[in-house]
Subunit: 120 residues, 2 copies
DNA sequence: GTAAACCCTCACGCCGGTGGCAGAGTCAAG
DNA sequence: CTTGACTCTGCCACCGGCGTGAGGGTTTAC
């Protein structure tokens, strides 16, 4: 499929997809007209890349776990990848805890505002 | 306190703190020697700014809820602030759910790697 | 056969910093 | 009274993950 279709099906912008390819996270065939041609698995691959990006992985880190982006090729990861995963799990724990605390603060604040609005 | 101490106590860089002040998130007295002079509450204020930044608020948004950064001055927020808070709560919900799903995926992957390592 | 829609590359801009540098003032200790 | 650590303003440049636009080629639909 061409880049526009991949963009539409993943929610990523065309620009982002080109960026992922430039950065080596994604591979594309090229026809005689230099257009990128992506296979079906690229859809899930892009979605997974975006989930990782939203949650604290950098492009470089994603490249290092690239083998895990497809469901083929399971196995054959090095100790570095394992260490990265373990570190990211801890990071995610911390971020989740922080977000929860922030939610509590905001909810508390909204409650106060509501009480103030009602109590007059 | 002077900017260096505030930086040390909050973990923010001196540069960042100047940036927050320029952006109007933070106020500082100035002595006769143009040095910034922060009060004790600035410590918590900077920490709160950083929590918000890490969790999806932009500088502009933080400025708009600036009145809520201190524990004084509660009350007198406009409807825009309430809308922002409500939207951010939903965003945080989504982000937390996604992070949990990602954790599950990573844990699953780590489990597979472990099984593979053990089963040979 | 032409207009719209798509694709290409190149290259600059944004945000929330972070760093560095210059040139200068200030403060505390020896 | 000097030395070193700190502070000030102002500027320029970098990062990542894109957005945006220029200037061009290709494909598709009428």
């Amino acid at each position: 499929m061409k880049i526009g279709e991949l963009a539409a099906r993943t929610g990523a912008s065309v620009r982002s997809i080109r960026h992922y390819e430039e950065e080596g996270l994604l591979r594309a065939e090229r026809g005689p007209n230099r257009y990128r041609d992506f296979g079906e698995p690229a859809v899930e691959r892009v979605q997974r890349i975006r989930v990782l990006l939203r949650n604290g992985f950098t492009i470089d880190e994603i490249r290092s776990v690239a083998v895990d982006l497809d469901d083929t090729n399971l196995g054959s990861v090095c100790a570095d990848v394992v260490r990265l995963y373990v570190a990211k799990l801890a990071e995610l724990d911390a971020r989740i805890a922080e977000m929860r605390a922030l939610q509590r603060r905001i909810r508390g604040r909204l409650g106060e505002i509501e009480r103030q609005r009602t109590a007059t």
